[in-house]
Amino acid sequence: MRSAGFWSVVAAALLGGLAFAALTNNAYYFTAAYAILQALIMAIAWNILGGFTGYVNFGSAGFFAVGAYCTVALHKFLPSIGIDPPLFVFVFASAIVCGLIGLAAGYLTLRLKGVYFAIATLALAIVFETLIKNWSYVGGAKGTPILTPDPPQFLWGYIAFSSYVKYLFVVMLLLSLTAIVISRYIVNSKIGRGLAAVRDDELAAECMGVPTLRLKLISATVMGALMGMAGAPYVFMVSFIDPASAFSLEIAVNSIAMPMIGGTAYWYGPVVGALLLGTAQQFISVTISSELNVLLVGVVLVAFVILAPRGLVGLVNDLRAKAKRHG
């Protein structure tokens, strides 16, 4: 997609979202849209390391939950010393903490074969879960209730949100668009070409002078930061947070399945996957059952990696190329 076209789509999505927020008041729509956007950010984050670089991360839920708990801790600590920061401070802090964790995990394992990184991320998620279960300040294994703040007002009351969930939806929309812009920038830049070289043949890339370790570390850091960013607002979305729900494996499987369905080599692959699968999930958990919902994700994931390893975007591109050859 050319730049002008891309930016007009981003602007249209932003305006569309704001219009949606201004015109409707049904909290269900915002909750559903929030869930889809959260999955979207995590799918994009996963894809930066998983898709562009070829290193699978099974610990998405771990990064997400650390982001959320970072916010829980700050939300409890800062008011006790007389500071009541706005939401973006939490988002920023969570992103930094999770980015650093991504960097550290990457430094430990990215020099080894990719498989080790995958297992190490799974390990990290469980280690963090155990840590948080034993940390009573943030509620321990029992979890902790979070009071939903009053909906904020901006520009001296000219922009006022009628409910907090609506505000969170707008925040999540902004974060999603930020993630998309970052992801597109990375894949189109020199970094992205380096990452693709790492994915296709790491040894060859290293021999050609590509700084593979540094690129992988950048990729792991961005991945962690985006995951943490998605976790921060979640705390205020749910009125009660506990380790079991924050670290649930459903979050991890979603963030792998969505890029795989869309197509991992493209920045818009995870966007397509998240919008399709996310919407289907919202629909199925309301109309049928949440178990079937999880089963669906597993079946779709396996079906796509076997039948269409390059995702929907890859499939469409193949069909187009074929049509061109024949026509």
Binding site: L108, I119, L122, A123, L295, G298, V305
Partner: protein, 299 residues
């Protein structure tokens, strides 16, 4: 604190009991990790769904016990051909979809992750989330040797697992197929040049790896009740053991399983809520300090 509480370190009785309990646990963990040691260590197939197959084993053992009153260990043995066949099918799909095209690193991992999810949710949808139990005369029996407790509920799994491990060790080192399996893990191309078909050898090896899952599943349900989501806790344990043991070395796997079992047993006596982190802690430290494991070759 002024009053020193009796700890595992200061009280010899507690210490001995923790060590014995840890050895038994380690014996069971050997059975859990053995299949992964073959699949991941020797065949380079990162089967993170292996613990999920173990849970399938537990449920099938439960069904055989529930409908025919079959002894759980016997049920586990009866089920091995089925798991062997399952392994061949899974490897066929894996080979055709990923290994042949060289996409095993990314898509292969995602494949097993999805498979694990399907197994877990399918079990929940079929049998619900209630814990399942089996019964046998030895479950609940307790021997006491001196000051050491020997509960047969963990001693029997220990013994069965050790027998299975010895059997597999000799199979891999002495039999023709076993040597072919080790050859395919060392140099696939050389094996091909010797006129053997690496795909067929790997298929048998993966079948063998999954066959151990039915026995491990039987042992799991002897030790305690089983629920569909329990595989998650064993992913980390199994991988920690395989990596610590040195990727595919059977004796390394046994040693690593004992190390983990004893470590968990000590943590369990003092801070039970920290036990899930033990395996992963060991795994992270191994990856950071000596990724080739204790008995692995330094590369």
């Amino acid at each position: 604190m002024a009053i020193a509480a009796t700890t595992v370190i200061t009280d010899p009785g507690l210490f001995l009991n923790a060590v014995v309990a840890g050895l038994f646990l380690g014996g069971f963990y050997t059975a859990v990790a053995l299949g992964l040691s073959i699949a991941f260590g020797q065949l380079d197939i990162v089967n993170i769904a292996h613990p999920a197959f173990i849970i399938i084993g537990s449920y099938l053992v439960y069904l055989l016990f529930d409908s025919y009153g079959l002894d759980p260990v016997l049920a586990g043995i009866v089920l091995t051909p089925l798991f062997f066949a399952m392994g061949i099918v899974v490897y066929r799909v894996y080979y055709a979809s990923f290994e042949r095209t060289g996409q095993e690193s990314l898509s292969g991992l995602a494949f097993f992750f999805g498979l694990m999810f399907i197994i877990e949710v399918a079990l929940i949808m079929m049998y619900g989330v209630d814990p399942r139990l089996v019964n046998a005369p030895y479950i609940g029996m307790n021997w006491k040797i001196g000051i050491v407790d020997v509960p047969l509920r963990t001693a029997i799994p220990f013994a069965v697992s050790m027998l299975m491990t010895i059997g597999i060790y000799f199979f891999l080192s002495k039999s023709f197929i076993g040597r072919a399996i080790r050859a395919v893990s060392q140099d696939r191309q050389a094996l091909q040049l010797m006129g053997a078909d690496p795909v067929r050898v790997k298929q048998i090896a993966f079948g063998l790896a999954l066959a151990t899952a039915s026995i491990a599943g039987a042992l799991l349900i002897i030790i305690g009740s089983v629920e569909p989501w329990m595989n998650r806790g064993y992913i980390g344990r199994a991988f920690a053991i395989v990596v610590l043991g040195g990727m595919g070395s059977i004796s390394g796997t046994v040693i690593a399983a004992f190390i983990l079992g004893i470590a968990e047993s000590f943590v369990l006596t003092h801070a039970p809520s920290w036990t899930p982190a033990v395996a992963f802690g060991i795994l992270l430290v191994t990856l950071a300090v000596r990724p080739s494991g204790i008995l692995g070759r330094q590369s």
